[in-house]
Amino acid sequence: MTGALELIRRLEDNVARALVGKPEVIRLAVIGLLARGHLLIEDVPGVGKTTLAAALARSIGGGFQRIQFTSDMLPSDILGVSVYQPDRGDFVFKPGPLFTNIVLADEINRTTPKTQSSLLEAMNEAQVSLDHSTYQLPRPFMVLATQNPLEYEGTHALPESQLDRFLLRITIGYPGASDEKAILRGGGATPTEALGPVLAAADVLRLQDEVERVRVADSVLDYVLALVAATRAAPPLRLGVSPRGSLALLRAARARALADGRDFVVPDDVKTLAVPALAHRVLLRGATGGEVDPAAIVRALCDSVPVPR
């Protein structure tokens, strides 16, 4: 137990060297990693999305690839291609940048839906099917995607099915005044390139197994179900949370409990993670992208659903 907590602290501290003043965001990112999930980091440019993703990736021993998504990108640019080799008289699969442990998919909504969808299977099953063959991705496998808010020019909104595959959607937000001052002074943050791995890939797998063993009381399960049911019944929402969403919320809650040094989930785990785990899975009724924020609706639901006592 203490070993797990120690590892998690070390990881968080390492990431915090690069991303100053955002411990909650770092915690969410670590939760995503521990829960075998993928992260969608969404915010305006310049708040440190890429820094967070790169810092997390570099803190873990293992492969790391960064894919900068652009509008002319093709699926084969991510997954890889089969290349004919005349000397062997056969096609040989040449893996793309996806075949690594941590993938930083930068500005994922800059590319076309076709290319975005090619990530689907990889994210869900940690494998790639191409030309009638299936190729296993290495473990641990995690996609850290960043995107600009949807209303920005030259973006393609992610399809719902793809959004559903992200465990958590994180916003970073502007840093506090004192933290920003420290950044300006240049003494606070360490460049991500200077970060070394503090965790082996095997450690991450062990922690992920540990998460599976975190106990969930019946009443907490009921609470998760009540929350999800509330999104399905809420009038402002056209689409509620899928069972994949409730599973994601529960997994994330387990990971949060572990990161908090507990071997059982408390309702706070669920409530705190409701917005990051659920808000990107619901669809608003009526005009998209109006003044109503799905996150606000989920937050309001959290305040009305009775907490188990």
Partner: protein, 683 residues
């Protein structure tokens, strides 16, 4: 003590089964040997349970057993069963054992509870015992408990086994207290319904014929010369309420000469007293609810008695002497000119009311026109009839009555002489003498009441004074709890009626036999039990539409009559009873309400210490919102002086509630200390 839900369920099931078996025994549907056998089989099924778990169920076996049971019962009904009820009982027992030996799920527990219930139903028409009430209450309490447990277990059966194993159910006082409260409420509601819903019809199932009859003690014949010991049986055969004493204001000492007259005899053959063939018998039929007139009314005070008579194998109606009227359920009554009243031999307890005109102290001053000596010589011949009597008896009678002023004076002298000169004994030795009376008066000089009565009647008749022998019961013991006389078999008695011109037939008891001694303190419980038994019979078993109307009428009068109001209000016993009922109902409501209150916001599993902490916090004005977690509440409490204590309690609460981790002794002590701090500063 913490018991797992499933073993608590098993205990409840076996308690119910034991209750059902006890009921069957009580109702006589199961004999002693049968009870032992059934109990052994039931007990064996308890030990067989672990074995059963290892055997796979055989579906065809169930069908085979059902066919077997159906066939067996059909066969029993047409051949050997004494009644339908016996066959039904055997089927119940068979099904019960099958279920016990194949019990697996909580559904089987429910089925067993139903079978136990059917046992009680089967017994209900076969018994009138108050013990049934106790068995019924036990069934209600345990049954309610079982239903709750079954629900818990059924809910738990769907849960993953890991959860079940880690968190054993805490089934301590709370659940049992709740089921007690629910049972109390059920009993209260049932009682109200029982008293209010109109009583119609008869029991659906026929009563088992009562074969037991008490034959010793009272008899419809007085035969001298028999031997043996009598009067030892203390079984209560009759209970007599005096209407005038209903409220308990009468004193039994005021009526020492009260006797319950059963049958009078006019003919004597030297050995036995019988009712002669010349007696005029009259069988009356009537329409309810008119009373049967029995005797002419002389104009004195009237004593109304409500009598509960056990089946003693006699058809006679008992009551204080000079019975005027009879109200009863029977619509056929036989009267004769001896004043004997008979109804068809009852198979169950008989409940009737009689009006009597008790005899006044000294009849000599009376001159009632209807009570003159009849001029008919046949009448005189009938009441002075005698077989050949030994000359020395006649001489003795003559000697004692010499100089008597009138018939009654002569009778008093004879009676006094008998009581003074002869000894009363219960032990009868057959002497083989040809004339038992002569033997009694001159040889043994000791005998029981029959000898005394016969001797007095015969000696009166030798002097030409009309007399007859009467059989009945002495007054009996006063029960101060139920305000009635308890008449036992050993109170059976014989005495004499002598005709006094102008006063009619007057009772005279020559036996020097005292009234039974007052009951010892130790026996008071028995008196109380007997009173309870009678109340059970009076207000439950024989509660009729008539009683309901009467009760409704009383209530109506009490409400509408002004004079009745203060009396009702000042009766502290009623007040006490009403207060007790309100208290029981109130506590049940509180228990239910608290339970419901605890369930707000999800599953009612809040550790007690956290609930206490929340209450203490509420006194400071901090109450959790519906969507507020424990930590958020602790965060809000941070501004208060109890922040640290409450945060510690919250952490302990999370560990217990969501971690399923029991507190260690140290932690529990810390929790207690925190609670104390919280509650102290909350004031």
């Amino acid at each position: 003590m913490t018991v797992s839900a499933s073993s608590a369920l098993a205990i409840a099931v076996y308690l119910l089964v034991a209750d059902g078996l006890a009921a069957l025994f009580l109702g006589g549907l199961l004999g002693g040997a049968g009870l032992a056998l059934a109990a052994a089989a039931v007990a064996a099924s308890w030990w067989q349970a672990p074995l059963r778990r290892r055997i796979a169920p055989q579906p065809w076996l169930g069908t085979a057993i059902v066919v077997l049971a159906a066939g067996g019962v059909a066969l029993e009904v047409v051949t050997v069963a004494a009644s339908m009820l016996d066959a039904f009982t055997h089927l119940l027992l068979f099904l019960l054992l099958v279920k016990l030996y194949t019990r697996r799920t909580s559904r089987d527990a429910r089925d067993l509870a139903f079978l136990a219930f059917f046992m009680l139903v089967a017994v209900a028409p076969a018994t009138t015992s108050v013990v049934f009430l106790a068995l019924f209450v036990v069934f209600l309490v345990v049954g309610t408990w079982l239903l709750m447990l079954r629900h818990l277990v059924a809910e738990g059966e769907g849960a993953p086994p890991s959860l079940e194993a880690r968190r054993p159910f805490g089934l301590g006082r709370d659940l049992f207290a709740l089921s007690l409260a629910a049972s109390a409420a059920t009993i209260a509601i049932t009682t109200v319904l029982f008293l209010v819903i109109p009583r119609v019809g008869q029991a659906a199932l026929p009563l088992r014929p009562h074969v037991s009859r008490m034959v010793s003690g009272f008899s419809e014949r007085v035969e001298l010369g028999a031997f043996g010991e009598i009067e030892a049986d203390s079984t209560v055969v009759m209970r007599v309420h005096l209407e005038e004493w209903r409220g308990g204001q009468g004193r039994p000492e005021a009526l020492p000469a009260l006797r319950w007259r059963g049958i009078a005899f006019d003919a004597f053959d030297g050995r036995a007293w019988t009712v002669s063939r010349s007696t005029l018998r009259l069988t009356l039929r009537r329409e309810l609810p008119v009373a049967f007139p029995v005797h002419r009314y002389y104009g004195g005070p009237v004593l109304t008695q409500e009598i509960f008579l056990e089946p003693i194998g006699s058809e006679m109606i008992f009551g204080a002497a000079r019975l005027l009227r009879l109200h009863g359920r029977s619509d056929v009554v036989t009267l004769d000119d001896l004043g004997n009243v008979a109804v068809p031999v009852p198979s169950a307890r008989l409940n009737y009311t009689v009006d009597s005109e008790p005899e006044v102290g000294d009849p000599r001053g009376l001159d009632i026109a209807d009570a003159r000596l009849p001029a008919d010589p046949r009448w005189l011949a009938r009441y002075t009839q005698l077989p050949p009597v030994a000359p020395r008896i006649v001489a003795l009678a003559q000697e004692i009555t010499a100089g008597a002023a009138d018939h009654y004076d002569a009778a008093l002298r004879l009676s006094a002489w008998l009581g003074r000169e002869l000894k009363y004994t219960r032990v009868l030795e057959g002497s083989g003498a040809a004339d038992p009376l002569e033997d009694f008066l001159f040889v043994r000089r000791a005998g029981n009441c029959e000898y005394f009565a016969a001797a007095l009647a015969v000696m009166l008749r030798t002097q030409g004074i009309p007399a007859r022998v009467v059989n009945g019961f002495q007054r009996g013991e006063w029960n101060p709890y139920g305000h009635y006389f308890m008449v036992r078999l050993r109170d059976a008695h014989s005495w004499v009626e002598v005709f006094v011109d102008g006063a009619g037939w007057v009772s005279l008891d020559p036996s020097p036999r005292g009234l039974p001694e007052p009951t010892a303190v130790a026996a008071r419980a028995m008196l109380w039990l007997d009173a309870l038994r009678l109340s059970w019979y009076r207000y439950v078993v024989s509660w009729s539409l008539h009683d309901q109307l009467a009760a409704a009428d009383t209530v109506r009068r009490a409400v509408w009559t002004r004079s009745a109001l203060p009396r009702v209000a000042l009766d502290w016993r009623s007040l006490l009873r009403a207060a007790m009922i309100v208290a029981v109902l109130g506590s049940a409501a509180v228990a239910l309400g608290r339970r419901r209150g605890g369930a707000v916001g999800g599953v009612a599993d809040v550790p007690r210490f956290y609930a206490r902490a929340l209450r203490a916090l509420a006194r400071r004005g901090l109450t959790p919102a519906a969507g507020e977690t424990a930590r958020e509440l602790a965060g809000r409490a941070e501004a208060t002086p109890v922040a640290v204590a409450f945060a510690r309690l919250t952490a302990a609460y999370e560990r217990v509630r969501f971690g399923g981790i029991a507190l260690t002794a140290d932690e529990a002590a810390a929790v207690e200390a925190g609670l104390a701090e919280l509650e102290r500063s909350g004031r």
